[in-house]
Amino acid sequence: MLEIRSLTKVYPGPIAALQGVDLEIAEGMFGLVGPNGSGKTTLMRIVAGLLEATSGEVFLDGEDILADPARVWSKLGYLPQDFGFYPHLTGEAMLRHILELKGVTGPNGVKAAVAELLEAVNLAPAARQKVKSFSGGMLQRLGIAQAIAGNPRLLIVDEPTAGLDPEERLRFYRVLAELAQDRIVLLSTHIVEDVAVLCNRFAAIRKGIIIARTTPREARAAIDGAVFEGEVTPQELEDLHRTRTVTQSVLVEGRHRLRIYEPDGGPAPGFREVPPTLEDAYLVMMRTGGLPGAVVAA
């Protein structure tokens, strides 16, 4: 169990990056979704023990991460949003270096573990290549390999699909889903689809405040019957943006297909009710500061 209590982080400015965040995250995949700058990475870095919090507490299975992060680093797998490797090392040497720092080994020793991990992320053919020759996707996969090495109790992945193509993203989703079966996986993303696909629970964060702890199903249910779709001209689009809560807008054959959220009144002319998506719910949360009714506890 990962417990986050009253976590606050203030940067000089002062800028309140996190404002009393409370979360309890059990085994499985937990998503943290929010726009850029909402405090996701700050939260991830604090939980990973890389950033000192201004106040608050974080426990992993009862162990205080903030007081002694080194105690939990052996149980941690971390794939940061922004990272690099020694460019002059080969993929194999690089991974081995990290595994050795993490104290990771396998039944046949660390060398075999490195080979297996590289094989699993299909970097075995490039094991002897220098890291500086790796493509973005290869680097990301090397990052993933090091993150899950050692069977970590807590896996933190911060914007993990940023450098992956759609096919790779799907594969990564599956890996994460599999990994989440017997550990805590904390996924930070601003891509709602990631959460929709992977997480049975998630929290939405905006300006350092958790504005919702819920499941995708509950989030969609909360706005069920209040989402409408219709097509408008560019002139009408302006008006609707001013007067309604637009959740999605797509240009189709010269006309704008819009989804709007209307919790109280009827739909605009030409709009029809549609089943809500998680993205609708997310945008409603971001625009309105929450979902209708009480926030559903995750």
Partner: protein, 1195 residues
């Protein structure tokens, strides 16, 4: 190229540079130096040292040129090179290249903008330095420096800045920038200024033996980017007089100016190369990452089912223990270091420098020294500390920065290996680099020693010296850098602080303000000696090492606290700065603070109470204050006999003396009081008068004995004393050596004043720069008065010295050994003078003995290398000096070797002392002859100093030292031949030319040793001039005159000055007119010729002299110096002598004689029946002149 875009890059880079710590530390440091130099931190060695005498201004163009070139070469270069070199690397690390690639910015705009931005910011640093100099020199009042300050002249600042400052700055910045941009390797950027410093400090600026070929020397002048060598060799090496330096502009010759242009062009040119190379590279660079990589087609989707699921890879994470983590990080660090090119570049560079420097090391008279493992280890330890500190600065910073710079920190920081383990492993890896370089240096040294083939290779001294001097320094330095890096979390700040600390340390060294407490890299602290290394400085060094290591431990603990893998929260940081948390922090740190505190305080107290410390300094000052007015010039009776019973405990440095002096009143008046001076560090002193106890009055160390009855002229009495003390007391202030000591392996007591009271007031005790006065000015006819002896007893005395000490040492003193008894591990010897002496000494050592014809050499068993040569010189001295001058009156002439913690030799009667570094460890060949020379010189003091003691007054010491050199010239010619005599005369001439002070030099008859440059007049000119006089008078007349001179003055009571010698010799001169003219010029005036050969041409005259071709050489000979001497000038072909000094048959010359006064010139024509190769002025080396090496023309 777009101007706005270039300006945008320039402005951005400039703004970045002027905000970072590196810039500000450089600025503040140079501002500090501008103040330090304005108060005399560096002045030109010229001018007069007397009150009111003309001083070399610190504001002259020469002074500013010198300061600027040194500042550039030592301090400024590191900041500039690192800032420029890292400019592009930094962009790459910050990953802005990708962004720039997507803009219209062209490579040229980027490169020039970056370079100009960084260069401009450091031009500001240089400008602030110059402005600071001008401000501190001319605006800020400083009464003490008034006489060193000339009027403000902007050109004095601007011209050196433009000619000496700008070209090297541009060259350094351009080269470093290009290195960084082209290689993207920080190590090369760092290597460049280190190599530059090594090249300058240890070669270009310092290696200039006089035998160096002029063309090579000229080339070296031109390749020195700082221009310092050119300045030294062209203007400063031989003093041109203070008026010249103060008022004349620096005239830059065409070749030098061209070299400046070349450096400018190189700086610009190398930048010009960068856009094309880098441009292509950084345009293409994205391709590597943009290429489609391996797709992720594996995983559980793999149809063949071979590839495993990532989640199913069976791995386990075990928190590594300290040792496991340490070994893993260490292995990784070693791998990084081994793969870094720095090690392969630095190691040969350092090796080349340390081994190269050792190989060309020169001692006295620019002569090569005999290399031994110990001397090499010590000399190189100092260099290695400098190099390794610079290297470690780079490696430590980059090692600690590596994860952050590459972005791996986000992954590697949250791993379970503890910070303590990581830092410890990194420090160990850095020490591994130290180990590699030390090993390489040892291999190099061993090769040099094997090549030398004289002294066997031995590992012990290297382990001992480097283990003590290098390893702790490196450990402390690494810990310090880690702490700074942890605190600042900035590579630039750490570089800045590191360079700042190194620069300030060098500055302290330059101004001579180092002590054991500040000398953390132990420069010039522990001279090597094979006879007992560390016996003198062991305790000081040990405390210093403890201090450095304990500071290192503290810094390491601080690094652990500060080197946070977790980014600090500002609010949390503030809360930790509250009193209570701070107190807790201090308590936690207190054990680590305590260690450096205790060792530092112990060291300070040791320095304070030691024989070079404040306590002794105050005692000396009190002695001076209390007695100077009362006792200066008070005449005292003489010691007619000295009997000492000296008990030595060398292991404790202790001595007990029980002795007595027979005081004889040789004066015309009765004496009522007797003053005695005690040693300032003695523990106890008691007195007897004619065997009865007496309590003299202690006047701050001057004991004044009121006699019960006046001592009448011709009467005598016995004064007895008991003394107890240690010598030297406590630790040295900053290592180094001492002249007199009682140490377990060697004892030197010169004159006895350190172990027995001295009769009279010591006029030099307590005199330093705060209370020193101009020396006494003597009337021209002072020599006509009755003059006291310059040293030693006023009348010849007898001595009986009884020495008791451990029997593993051999003890010698003046005279003959009359008894020796051994009992219970102790030996007691008695030495008695068999003929009266004026001084005595006591020497002890663990020796072997060489015996010659009435001569002996007591030497360290491992130092037999030059014994044959020394024995030859000693035997020859005894024989020939006795034949030329007067017979040797004592039984034995003995040389004793003492440990090389002092570099001197001293010719006490019968018992000469030689440091091991003089003679015993000198490379001996025809060019150096140092072994022969120093032995012959010291032996000559038996005649010139002991048998004939000079008077105390102007020119007196020339009778001792100058005549000893003259005697040596005679002996060298007699034993070694003409070639050796010429070489030796050239070495003396060169030492005189380089050491003289043109403005401060006085005629020889006025030289009293109180002015700068007097030493060189006394020794070298004082030896050369009698040689020229001998050529004028004739050899036999000269020697006859000298014999008469000795006989006339040897027994006093009037002791001779130089005029007395001249007057005596005049009686033997065949041509008194020529004699007087010569004496007027060389003894009563300062006129030294300096010749130049100009407009030289040679042509063949066909068909003359029976068909043989005849050559006619025409040239102009100028005397640009002073004086009027007939000088031979010759056209020559071939070399006159071979390496062994044998005349070569192929040498031919045709000569004529020319007499030129000051500034005169004459057209000279010489015909020869051979084709001349060169024109040589004074081919026989018979006229003392300046810059002889330039009085040559090579065809």
């Amino acid at each position: 190229m777009s101007g706005p875009r270039l300006l945008q890059v320039l402005a951005q880079e400039f703004r970045f540079n002027v905000r970072r710590p590196l810039f500000w530390i450089a600025l503040l440091l140079l501002l500090f130096f501008s103040w330090a130099f304005s108060v005399g931190g560096m002045t030109i060695s010229s001018g007069e040292s007397t009150v009111g005498g003309q001083r070399a201004w610190v504001t002259s163009e020469f002074a500013l040129a010198q300061i600027l070139s040194v500042i550039l070469g030592i301090f400024y270069i590191f900041f500039l090179a690192v800032a420029a070199g890292m400019s592009v690397i930094k962009d790459e690390e910050w990953r802005v290249m990708e962004m720039l690639r997507a803009t219209p910015l062209r490579p040229g705009e980027y490169v020039w903008g970056k370079f100009l931005g960084v260069f401009l910011s450091f031009i500001i640093v240089l400008s602030v330095f110059l402005t600071g100099l001008a401000f501190f020199n001319h605006v800020l009042p400083n009464a003490e420096m008034a006489e060193y300050r000339g009027p403000f002249a902007l050109v004095n600042y601007l011209r050196p800045a433009l000619i000496l400052g700008l070209p090297p700055a541009l060259f350094i910045a351009g080269t470093s920038f290009a290195l960084g941009a082209l290689t993207r390797r920080g190590i090369l950027v760092f290597l460049f200024p280190v190599a530059f410093l090594l090249g300058c400090a240890y070669f270009l600026w310092s290696w200039s033996p006089t035998w160096l070929n002029l063309e090579v020397n000229r080339l070296l002048m031109l390749v020195d980017p700082t221009g310092f060598r050119w300045l030294m060799e062209t203007y400063l090496e031989v003093d041109r007089g203070v008026q010249f330096y103060n008022l004349e502009p620096v005239v830059y010759d065409g070749g030098f100016l061209a070299s400046r242009l070349v450096f400018l062009a190189l700086g610009v040119g190398v930048i010009g190369l960068v856009p094309r190379r880098v441009g292509g590279r950084y345009r293409m660079e994205g391709k590597e990452r943009g290429e489609p990589g391996l797709p992720w087609v594996g995983g559980e989707d793999e149809e063949d089912g071979v590839r495993r699921s990532l989640a199913s890879v069976d791995t386990v994470s075990l928190r590594p223990g300290i040792w496991m983590g340490f070994s893993r990080v260490l292995r990784s660090e070693f791998r990084e270091l081994i793969h870094a090119p720095g090690l392969y570049l630095f190691t040969p560079l350092i090796l080349l420098t340390v081994v190269g420097t050792a190989s060309v090391a020169v001692g006295a008279f620019n002569t090569p020294v005999l290399l031994t493992p110990g001397t090499m280890a010590v000399t190189q330890a100092e260099m290695l500390n400098v190099f390794l500190c610079l290297l470690l600065l780079f490696y430590a910073v980059e090692t600690l920065e590596r994860d952050r710079a590459t972005g791996l920190a986000a992954i590697s920081y949250p791993t379970p290996v503890g910070t303590r383990t990581v830092l410890l492993a990194k420090a160990t890896a850095l020490m591994g680099v130290v180990g590699v370089i030390l090993s390489a240096a040892f291999v190099g040294d061993a090769s040099v020693l094997l090549f030398q083939g004289t002294v066997p290779v031995s590992v012990g001294p290297f382990v001992q010296v480097w283990g003590l001097l290098v390893i702790p320094t490196c450990l402390g330095w690494i810990a310090f850098l880690m702490a700074v890096m942890g605190l600042t979390r900035s590579r630039w700040a750490t570089y800045g602080v590191g360079f700042g600390v190194l620069s300030y340390t060098i500055y302290l060294e330059i101004i001579g303000e180092m002590s054991w407490l500040t000398n953390w890299w132990v420069q010039e602290t522990v001279p090597w000696t094979d006879m007992g290394f560390l016996e003198l400085n062991g305790r000081g060094l040990l405390l210093n090492r403890l201090f450095v290591l304990s500071l290192g431990l503290l810094f390491f603990v601080l690094a652990l606290k500060w080197f946070n893998r977790k980014d600090r929260d500002p609010v949390g940081l503030l809360s930790r700065l509250r009193p209570k948390p701070l107190l807790v922090q201090m308590l936690v740190l207190s054990p680590f603070l305590l260690l450096p505190l205790v060792s530092g305080v112990t060291l300070w107290v040791g320095i304070h109470r030691g024989f070079q410390g404040d306590v002794v300094e105050k005692a000396a000052k009190d002695y001076w204050r209390k007695n100077v007015a009362t006792w200066t010039d008070v005449e005292t009776p003489a010691v007619a006999a000295a009997e000492l019973d000296l008990e030595l405990e060398p292991e404790q440095r202790a001595f007990r003396t029980e002795g007595r002096y027979l005081i004889f009143n040789h004066l015309e008046d009765a004496v009522k009081r007797l003053p005695f001076t005690q040693g300032l560090t003695w523990d106890s002193l008691s007195w007897t008068l004619d065997r009865e106890p007496i309590e003299p009055k202690n006047r701050a160390g001057l004991w004044v004995m009121d006699l019960p009855a006046p001592l009448q002229p011709g009467d005598s009495l016995w004064v007895g004393f008991r003394v107890k003390g240690v010598l030297p007391k406590g630790i040295t202030a900053n290592g180094g050596g001492v002249g007199e000591f009682i140490l377990p392996s060697s004892v030197v007591l010169a004159g006895g004043q350190e172990v027995a009271p001295q009769l009279g007031y010591g006029e030099n005790i307590g005199v330093d720069e705060d209370n020193e006065s101009d020396a006494e000015e003597y009337a021209p006819d002072y020599y006509l008065e009755q003059v006291d002896p310059a040293f030693g007893s006023r009348i010849p005395m007898t001595t009986r010295i009884r020495i008791t000490g451990p029997d593993y040492l051999t003890y010698t003193s003046v005279g003959n050994l009359v008894s020796e008894q051994r009992l219970d591990g102790k030996v007691t010897v008695v030495w008695e003078s068999d003929h009266p002496v004026r001084m005595f000494n006591v020497v002890a050592g663990k020796w072997d003995v060489w015996r010659g014809e009435g001569t002996e050499i007591y030497y360290h068993p491992e130092h037999g290398y030059n014994i044959e040569e020394m024995g030859l010189a000693l035997d020859a001295s005894r024989r020939w000096y006795a034949e030329w001058f007067v017979p040797f009156p004592w039984t034995t002439l003995r040389v004793n070797e003492f440990m090389g913690i002092a570099d001197y030799a001293q010719g006490f009667p019968t018992n000469i002392t030689f440091s091991e570094s003089i003679g015993f460890l000198t490379k001996n060949d025809l060019r150096t002859l140092l072994v022969f020379f120093v032995t012959a010189h010291e032996a000559a003091h038996q005649w010139w100093g002991n048998m004939l003691t000079p008077g105390e007054g102007p020119g007196g010491n020339i009778i001792s030292e100058g005549m000893a050199n003259f005697s040596t010239l005679l002996l060298v010619e007699q034993i070694k031949g003409e070639a050796a005599r010429r070489e030796f005369a050239k070495r003396m001439e060169e030492a005189y030319a380089r050491g003289r002070r043109a403005d401060d030099e006085r005629p020889m008859v006025e030289v009293d040793g109180t002015h700068e440059g007097d030493g060189r007049v006394t020794y070298e000119k004082g030896g050369w001039v009698p040689w020229m006089l001998m050529a004028l008078m004739g050899r036999e007349a000269m020697l006859e005159g000298l014999r008469e001179f000795i006989v006339r003055y040897r027994d006093g009571p009037d002791y001779p000055l130089l005029q007395d010698q001249v007057n005596t010799l005049r009686e033997f001169a065949p041509d008194t007119v020529a004699f007087d003219e010569f004496v007027d010029q060389w003894y009563f005036d300062v006129l030294v010729p300096e010749y130049r050969v100009e407009e030289a041409e040679r042509r063949q005259l066909a068909g003359e002299e029976g068909g043989l071709d005849t050559w006619e050489t025409t040239f102009t000979l100028r005397n640009i110096g002073a004086g009027l001497m007939p000088v031979a000038v010759a056209v020559t072909v071939g070399e006159p002598f071979d390496q062994e000094g044998e005349a070569l048959p192929g040498y031919r010359e045709a000569r004529t004689t020319v007499t030129l006064g000051a500034g005169e010139e004459r057209a000279v024509t010489i015909r020869s029946d051979f084709e001349p190769e060169r024109i040589v002025v004074d081919p026989g080396v018979r006229i003392l002149q300046l810059r002889r090496e330039r009085a040559v023309h090579e065809f």
